[in-house]
């Protein structure tokens, strides 16, 4: 009968969860310390939780968790350099988990979602200039929070520089449609004269209270009226909130960042959206945005079983089966196992023998009595 898990020894690798045929165990993935992959992830995706949810086949919840920090996983999966995979603990054991492949799979599932209008929570409107991925990201999070949002895009379609790739272009079209289904307004072929003298007044006249400039690199060197520039000629912003020198104006993506990856561009949009929400409520722009994170040390993988990655398609993609299998390779670094359904234990010892940390104790007796002085049954339970 399962007796105990030594919390001090448990590394949260999930071997017990994955081994037990009777589903006795669960993981608690809440930990202030983040896994090495999460520390490397520019979007700070909660990869540990996402993979754990997938391990339990909770696909929609895994996707919801991913979307909290990454608005367009179908793009990120394809575009991201995957800095998460290098520090993955499995890297030292066999091969890192195919985190990018998993994200792409979830992203494709995301594209199939049908979205409905988000209930309006705010009176004041926000404007996003530019429907590249940074702008779309900002628009996505603002809309999700219940703000009325209008995205102004100079081109015929959304997507910015990503339109040059046909796969990305079609993905962006789907995301743009989802955004509109949620209630955001997308005004195409609408060039906003950011360098003109009265662009802010024009937007104020249209009753926009906050502006997110996501106009890309083309602004470089040309100052939108009233904004300070950085040394490299882009709009100068606060590194956390992406607030410009004007309180209600934010700048994201290439308009503000030098050599930003696509993922970082999307992250900047998310953070700016959060900061916009803060200032429109009258709080400081960075309210709720400073969280200290500690890394978990990469685990000692000695004693663990090797397991090759699930074969991916030629483009690196995974099937549903492949995604679920691959998620099982994740060692959910930093979580803690606990005994969830002990009464189902049938004393097979598989968890204890598989636990690389020696944290599990299974008592050899099926039912335990403190004393055996007198085993007379009151009739016995036969």
């Amino acid at each position: 009968m399962i007796s105990s898990i030594d919390e001090e020894k448990c590394t949260g690798c999930g071997s017990c969860v994955k081994t037990c045929a009777l589903d006795v165990f669960r993981l608690d993935t809440r930990n202030e310390k983040i896994a090495p992959c999460m520390a490397a992830c520019p979007a700070r995706n909660d990869l540990r939780e996402i993979h754990y949810l997938l391990q339990q086949s909770r696909l929609d919840e895994a996707l919801d968790c991913l979307k909290l920090t990454m608005p367009f996983p179908a793009l990120a999966g394809r575009l991201c350099r995957r800095p998460c995979e290098r520090p993955c603990s499995r890297h030292a054991l066999d091969e890192s988990v195919n985190i990018g492949g998993i994200e792409t799979f979830l992203g494709d599932r995301d594209l199939a979602r049908a979205l409905s209008p988000v209930p309006r929570r705010h009176i004041f409107k926000a404007a996003v200039i530019g429907a590249g991925i940074a702008g779309l990201s900002a628009a996505w999070y603002l809309t999700k929070s219940g703000f009325p949002v209008t995205v102004f895009e100079a081109g015929e379609k959304a997507g910015g520089h990503l339109r040059s790739d046909s796969v990305c272009a079609s993905i962006i079209d789907i995301y743009a449609a989802q955004l509109q289904a949620m209630g955001a307004e997308l005004r195409l072929e609408c060039r906003f004269p950011l360098t003109g003298p009265s662009w802010r007044e024009e937007l104020e006249d249209l009753d926009f209270r906050a502006i997110v400039i996501a106009a890309g690199s083309e602004l470089k060197g040309k100052t939108p009226c009233g904004l300070e520039l950085s040394d490299s000629g882009r709009i100068k912003v606060d590194p956390h909130t992406f607030q410009s020198s004007v309180r209600t104006v934010f700048a994201v993506g290439d308009a503000a960042l030098d050599n930003a990856s696509d993922v970082l561009s999307m992250v900047s949009g998310r953070r700016a959206a959060q900061a916009v929400g803060n200032i429109l409520q009258g709080a400081n722009a960075d309210m709720g945005m400073h969280v200290r994170l500690h890394t978990v040390a990469s685990r000692d993988v000695s004693g663990m079983e090797q397991r090759s990655p699930h074969p991916a398609g030629s483009d690196g993609s995974l099937t549903l089966e492949g995604t679920l299998e691959e998620s099982l390779r994740c060692l959910t670094c930093g979580s803690r196992a606990y005994i969830a359904y002990p009464e189902d234990c049938m004393t097979c010892f598989a968890c204890e023998t598989h636990c690389p940390a020696g944290a599990i104790d299974v008592d050899p007796f099926k039912e335990f009595h403190p004393r055996h002085l007198d085993r007379r049954f009151i009739g016995g339970r036969k």
Partner: protein, 573 residues
Amino acid sequence: MHATKLKTDVLIIGGGFAGLWAARQAARHVKDVLIVDKGPRDWGGLGGMSGGDMITLHADQDINEWMDEIVFFNDGLCDQLMMLDTLRDSLPRFHDYEAMGHTFTRDEKGDYVRIPQRGLTHVSLTTSAPTGKGGINMRAALLRSMEGCSVRRMGNIMITAITKDGNRVSGAVGFFNRSGEPVFIEAKAVLITAGTGGWKASYLQNSMASGCVELALDAGARLRNFEFIDNWNVPKLFAWEGQTVLLPLGGRFINNQNEEFMAKRYSPVLGSKTDTQYNIRGMVLEVRAGRGPIVFDTSRIPEECMKEVTPAAGWMKLNNDKLKELGVDFFKDKIEWMPQPIASEGGIATDLEGATGVEGLFAAGTAQSLPTGVYFGGLSICHCATSGYKTGEAIGRYAAGCNAPSFDQDQAEELLNRELSHLGRAGIAPKDIVRVTQELMAPVDVCVLKTDRGLRRSLARLEEVKHEFLPALGAEDPHYLCKMVEARGMLKLTEAYLRSSLERTESRAGHFRADHPCRDEATPLYWVEICQNGQNMVIERKELPMSDYPVKPYRYYMDQFTFPLDEIESFLR
């Protein structure tokens, strides 16, 4: 959900100074008095956050001289009978405070420190000790004095409606604002001492959101004086209190040419030592003429007075220390100031004993309306004590002499469900409504140099917001439910302000119309009053009973100013 049912003889809504004074007195007449407040039980309202200075007519001062000056200061628009009562009762209440253990400042000779107000000769406030902690001490003294008497107090209850038994009040309904649990209160008489409300301008510490406006109107009471507001002059970025002391000691407002513009152009008699509403008008005209920004200059305050005005305790000291850490020195830097609509000076119309005209419903403190847009420091502290005391007596005697009304539980539940049905609903955030009201008030042609156009523009926008967003308000949790009720009240308050301002087609006291810049001498003096008909506000004029008043206006404070009419007219274009 568990419903809390309470029963009392006298229910007091609002546990600030007026409510506490009233409770003390009412408790002498009835068995049980219950105070409820939407904030913490012991916070003592805004008085607990003030400097504790009090307008007091001391024995060596002449009430007639004061009344003459006050009527002059208010340009004739003064409830003289109420003002007389307030002045007469100020000294007894002052002594009561001392008996409770509160300390008023004494100088080296042992005399009270009295600071004349607004360039007036006679009217002065008496300061509390120590500077910055007066309000806290007053609150503590009042709470101490409540021990042992049959007054019960409960905090974190938001009252949303007053219940009626026919034409008389029967109690109130509300909810605990951190749990959303319903509260039903049966009472023989109800006293509103919840203030009137304001625009959460982050000055005067936690200035009000909304107090009595909705409650009173829905109960059938009449409101008055809503065209008058506390449009207070404040530093742009941070809080600072004590203007009413700094100005008489030599503080001045100067423009970007270092001119004391009030003395130079608009206020030849008083300079900056005047009521805030006038200084603000000057500021606006200066900015319009390109001579902004306006800063507050302390360099003329004598060295020996600096100790008195430098914050020594409480939040003022902490504030000052932090500003210094940020590199801001109030007394050395050029600190930009800004007008900000803080609070309404309107209130519920009552008789001299606080009776509203709705049977069993009384009002006291800042929920009544005494000042008319021009204000001297310490008046609220004074009036809260005097009216609290007096109305407490009146309501206590009333409740002692009547039977309990019948409390209609169904009516009460229906009233409450209208609020509670919002709980958990996704909808418009209450804070957004708050910010809308702030925006509606801020334009210069709405809050300083009012014009018909500006007022109507804000009113039109208000109506839009009312129709589009009020029905869609959401409250994710009980905290937001409370804020939602407040936000609605603020919208109503703002509407009352706009409509009343439109009604008064003249300029007088704190109300200035750029399109009617003079006093209307042809019409007898009137108040602008409001009552409710269904969902609509009805605005009426009520003539002042001048024949009952001792002072017939013959001179006017506003005549001391020389605001150029042509420049003012430019605001109309």
